[in-house]
Symmetry: C2
Subunit: 319 residues, 2 copies
């Protein structure tokens, strides 16, 4: 049994296409990343949450793809802000189309996301989804601003880090699940459980990403091992290390980090220094995944299986 | 009797503040232009349309200010795209806060606009307003892309120009009026009439702007007379001239346009060449204003007065 159901993925892409069915520079720029092989995890989560209570997914499609459109707008704008040249192996939108069109392409996807939810038939549901989606858009902006601010700051606590991650990447993992729950007419209790599930999935996804950067397979993660160290990125592992290492090791780590000339040897040395913190990140990732599955227990064992599999998939990569 | 009612303007600002009541770099950047003396014409129009049928404006405030938030996000992003340093006599957001924060500040206002309409109490109204606002956001992006494309193109027809203007600036004049009509529970016929009114107000506003650039008072319009000529901007006046002038005058006009070294004498010469086209722009502006007021005739004479005054205000500046 595949992790993702192909029939659902096709329906997601067909729905996305409905909103961007034009050929000109602006639309091409808007579609550049959107159809460059994203995993569609967000709309997929919305659909899986919906399927806990309903069967025919047509009703949930517009709101499911809305989150994917928002996610893609943030990628385009983030790439401009971070001055990144490549994403998913392709030149970023601003590299290909120029910065002005890239800003506008993001803005168009933003508008299309809200147009999509305006196509929900039931007004009460549209209204609830609007509340969830607009709130998560606010969170994403605040999270991105925090992330940029952290880069220019000496010390960050783990608490601040998790707050940032929860907003910057968690918001767009929790909101599709919550939207699926609303569209599927879950009870308040069910909705709360699903949000707790999604919150932990989102955090695990990020901590797992940070671990894979250090211990992953170069080909699988699509970038050289230790990129985060070279870029001086403050991941959960680094922040934990800076809070817990003895003074000499901490100083050595800071020496190695954020230096583009760093050798392979030094990366290995840093990974060795970070050993305990990698273990810490692994532990909390596993904890998040176990907890996330606990929250699903109120649902039918057959119906909750796909959501459990998504959780396990995140865990598997680091076991 | 003042054109704008101060009590209403205060309520608009109070409502705007509710959504941006934080002090940090991101929020400061978002508020930089918003509280730099905009006329609030868009939320004001929404409120006036609402007052045709209702009395207490509390209900319409969230959706009225949503359009102002959208308008302000477009200003911030447009200034980045056009690389403009100043607006309303102040440095633009990206000049003051850097480009990354400016992009994000626009994105935050965008989210806040949809958060504002999610606060409409009645779900049916929220749903209708969501449709109107998201559609106008799509139009604004398409209009801005057309405007950028026109800059790099030789000839543009008046029809193309009006289509661009209707999307780029008209959409955010029509949508607040339509939103006010929805919130005020206008009939379909009343809604249609108000949209026709607003469409003409929006076009008149633009053509009047183009006229004022050539015949206005430097201090009143806040920029040197003939700026559009220096920048080589394709206004309704220039497009009309290029379609109608004899070959020699057309060539001379193109020589003068888009040259930053252009002398005062040459600007005067260009204005002289454009004389008939300025008259044309004046005529259609007056036509738009007269027509716009015709559409209001189905409403109570006392209640429609403020909307008529807005129309006349636009006309007055060029009579």
């Amino acid at each position: 049994m595949e992790l993702f159901n192909n029939d659902i993925l096709l329906k997601i892409d067909r729905e996305l296409n409905k909103y961007l069915d034009k050929e000109n520079k602006l639309y091409d720029a808007s579609k550049h990343l959107l159809f460059a092989g994203g995993k569609r995890i967000r709309p997929y989560l919305a659909i899986l949450a919906y399927l806990l209570k309903k069967e025919d997914i047509e009703e949930v499609l517009p709101s499911a793809i809305a989150v994917e459109l928002i996610h893609n707008y943030t990628l385009i704008h983030d790439d401009i802000m971070d001055n990144d040249d490549k994403r998913r192996g392709k030149p970023t939108v601003h590299v290909n189309y120029g910065m002005p069109i890239a800003i506008l392409a993001g803005d168009l996807l933003y508008a299309k996301a809200f147009e999509a939810i305006s196509n929900i038939e039931d007004s009460k549901k549209a209204h609830e989804v609007l509340k969830i989606l607009s709130k998560s858009c606010v969170d994403v902006c605040i999270g991105q601003a925090m992330d940029m601010e952290f880069e220019n700051r000496g010390s960050i606590t783990l608490e601040e880090y998790f707050d940032m991650i929860y907003k910057k990447t968690g918001a767009l993992i929790v909101s599709p699940v919550e939207i699926g729950a609303v569209m599927g007419e879950c009870t308040e209790e069910e909705k709360r459980a699903l949000c707790e599930y999604a919150k932990r999935i989102g955090l695990a996804f990020q901590t797992q990403d940070d671990i894979l950067d250090l211990i992953g397979n170069k080909d699988k993660i699509g970038k050289p091992v230790g990129s985060d160290i070279r870029e001086g990125k403050k991941t959960v592992i680094v922040i934990h290390a800076l809070e817990n290492l003895p003074k000499d090791k901490k100083e050595r780590l800071l020496e190695i980090m954020g230096n583009n000339e760093t050798t392979e040897e030094e990366i290995k040395e840093a990974i060795d220094i970070l050993k305990d913190s990698i273990d810490y990140a692994r532990e909390i990732t596993i904890k998040y995944i176990e907890e996330s599955k606990e929250y699903l227990k109120i649902f039918d064992p057959e119906k909750r299986k796909s959501l459990e599999k998504i959780a396990d998939f995140i865990g598997e990569r680091i076991y």
